[in-house]
């Protein structure tokens, strides 16, 4: 391995505008049989261009090679292990793509009359019922388009619930382990975040919770298992403290992959739950596709649920209904990301109730197997567990000893993992763990992959002890080397001006 200055092949950085030649076309339309109108005859003068726009002028093979080249430089789940903690990067079964691509699903127009979209409404209704069963809460809306939008819906519903009782509660309690979207959602909804401390076991500090609950608290937002990968055993006590104060309990479903069919948020006392269909129920995500964040709610929240709602009549007929006078209204246009619904429903039908439970059990087993492998000699001295003995579906290690004793940061280890063909885990989150490394293997990885990952971490730590500079300069084998993140944020260059992108002669091949 040679360590040197980053080098980037000029061909790697050329944009589509820098390829091709003037007048070159990928496709030539047949001559039109309709007489052409001069633009000046049909458009006001102020809208007429003075010069034609500069568009890429490339052949079809050039287009194909350009974009295939870009896609090959991406790291994706189809290329390798992607243990990005809290993101549930599980395999996307090809069956789901086939079902989603059926023309009745893929080509359905969002403005189609519900009379002519009965099949789609039935699929959505059945998905709602399945999610209701998993949540242990009776009512579901599929509308939110991401976990964050599900959270926003949840906090707006909470507000509506209290306002309907003549109360303006301003505070939302959030543990210091929470996903960053929780406080962002609270701010978005015009409320104020109050942070609850974590206890020595990695759960909610009950004394701190009791001290902070009062009649100005609208709700507690909680993830269980939390972002430390730990299930909070005090959940019943937490629920009773929150409910006694008249507040709502909100479940961030980002970590549902650990508990499907095993524990239900509704049974734990939660009033509102969001699902991340794109995580737990498979979907290409993380830049690869749209998300979907349905919510399930209890009876007391139901009157405020979004419209339109899917109604099923006794004769099996489906309709979209706006009949809900106390509803918070609509959260987005149309009904949600329908392709996500199809994939999630295909997943639920493929696996059934027993299969979904297997998913969670194997997800937890895989995480604990990896935790055990990473607790072996040579690793645990530098990367100890942050909390607890066992974990749920993901594990959090601390690179603090590695940094102190080897002068190597978690970021360096993460970058070096790229050279071993692995996507790095989540780093520096949760914030209360110093030099955090958060690993979520998911249930779809084999023992061989988990072993290879653990071996790679051990090899990197051995390398760090003998030649730490290799880590500090990593990655060495990726198309682009270590990025200067600080300069990228301090002086971002967000676009290239066309004037600065002259067309360059194409390289051979």
């Amino acid at each position: 391995m040679t360590v040197g200055a980053p080098t980037i092949d000029p061909d790697e950085t050329r944009t589509i505008f820098q390829r091709g030649a003037p007048g070159r076309r990928a496709f030539v339309c047949p001559p039109s049989e309709v007489p052409a109108l001069a633009p000046a005859e049909v458009l006001p003068e102020r809208l007429l261009r003075q010069a034609p726009p500069r568009l890429p002028e490339v052949s079809e093979p050039e287009i194909v090679r350009h974009y295939v080249g870009l896609s090959k430089r991406n790291f994706d789940l189809d290329s390798g292990f992607y243990p990005l903690g809290s993101c549930t990067m599980k395999h996307n079964p090809r069956l789901h793509e086939r079902v989603a691509a059926l023309s009745g699903h893929a080509r359905l127009h969002p403005l189609q009359d519900p009379e002519r979209a009965q099949g789609a409404l039935e699929l959505m209704w059945r998905l709602e019922r399945a999610l209701s069963e998993l949540a242990g809460l009776a009512h579901v809306s599929l509308q939110p388009s991401a976990g964050s939008q599900g959270e926003l819906a949840g906090v707006l519903l909470t507000r509506a619930y209290h306002e309907d009782r003549g109360q303006q509660r301003r505070k939302v309690l959030i543990p210091d382990t929470a996903h960053g979207t929780n406080p962002a959602t609270v701010a978005m909804a015009g409320l104020v975040t109050v942070t609850v401390q974590t206890n020595a076991d990695g759960g909610v500090d009950l004394d701190d919770l009791r001290a902070k609950v009062d009649d100005d608290v609208a709700c507690l937002m909680l993830t269980n298992p939390n972002t430390l990968g730990l299930f909070d055993p005090n959940i019943v006590a937490i629920a009773s403290i929150v409910h006694e104060a008249g507040a709502i309990l909100y479940y961030d479903g980002a970590n549902l992959n650990a508990v499907m069919g095993i524990s239900r948020p509704g049974d734990m006392g939660f009033d509102i739950v969001h699902f991340n269909l794109h995580k737990t129920f498979t979907q290409p995500h993380g830049g690869g596709g749209p998300g979907s964040g349905p919510i399930a709610v209890s009876d007391r929240i139901e009157p405020y649920l979004m419209v339109p709602r899917i109604v099923r009549y006794d004769d099996g007929h489906f309709e979209l209904s706006e009949q809900a006078p106390r509803s918070i209204g609509r959260l987005r246009g149309f009904q949600g990301n329908f392709g996500c619904f199809v994939r999630a429903y295909a997943y639920i039908c493929s696996l059934g109730a027993a299969g979904l439970k297997d998913v969670s059990e194997v997800a937890v087993l895989n995480a604990n197997y990896l935790l055990a492998r990473l607790s072996e000699q040579g690793v645990a001295e530098y990367l100890p567990r942050a909390y607890g003995q066992l974990c749920m579906h993901e594990l959090v290690l601390s690179g603090a000893p590695m940094r102190r004793e080897l002068a190597v940061k978690t970021l360096d280890l993460a970058k070096r993992l790229l050279d071993h063909g692995f996507h790095p885990p989540t780093v520096y989150f949760p914030l209360l763990v110093e030099e955090a490394l958060m690993i979520e293997p998911t249930e779809t990885e084999t023992k061989e992959t988990l072993d290879a990952f653990a071996d790679a971490v051990a090899a990197i730590l051995a390398e760090a002890a003998s030649d730490p500079e290799i880590l500090r300069q990593a990655p060495h084998t990726t198309p682009v080397r270590r990025l200067d993140e600080a300069t990228a944020v301090r002086s971002p260059v967000l676009r290239e001006r066309l004037a600065d992108a002259p067309r360059e002669p194409a390289h051979a091949g």
């Binding site: 100890p384 970021l411 914030l431 110093e434 600080a486 944020v489 301090r490």
Partner: protein, 134 residues
């Protein structure tokens, strides 16, 4: 980046902030440890002159490549000057946390507030006991 240091002439708040008291004014900043944990600072959200800050409460935000964090006021008072140079060069917080990386100057509201702050040795001792545990 400068090596770890906690100058003797400063007072420290356990949330990793320092104060240099000169008469009825104090200069505030974050400690070497804070900037080291944050990593490269990319943005400091400058508060306005005239803002009143309260001991133990957040008065500004600092953003690094890792996270956005609150900056806690070690003492109470009114901001009389802000380090405008940080708008264009927030890296001064990493490079010189006790010098060019100062954040604000305040006019002290309550001189007794200093009694709850730590000296260099006590602050540094607290760091070794908390960093040993993840």
């Amino acid at each position: 980046m400068a090596p770890a240091s906690y100058p003797q002439d400063l007072l420290y708040h356990p949330e990793h902030d320092w104060a240099r008291i000169e008469g009825d004014e104090a200069t505030l900043g974050i400690t070497w440890y804070a900037q080291d944990v944050l990593g490269e600072v990319v943005f400091f959200d400058l508060p306005s002159v005239g803002t009143v800050v309260s001991q133990g409460e957040a008065y500004a935000e600092v953003e690094s490549v890792k996270a956005v964090s609150d900056v806690i006021a070690p003492l109470s008072g009114e901001i009389v000057a802000v380090n405008d140079a940080l708008a264009a060069g927030p890296q001064a917080i990493n490079e010189d946390p006790y010098g060019d990386g100062w954040l604000v100057k305040i006019r002290l509201a309550d001189p007794s507030g200093r009694e709850s702050l730590l000296d260099s040795e006590s602050y540094a001792a607290g760091l070794t006991s908390t960093t040993g545990q993840a």
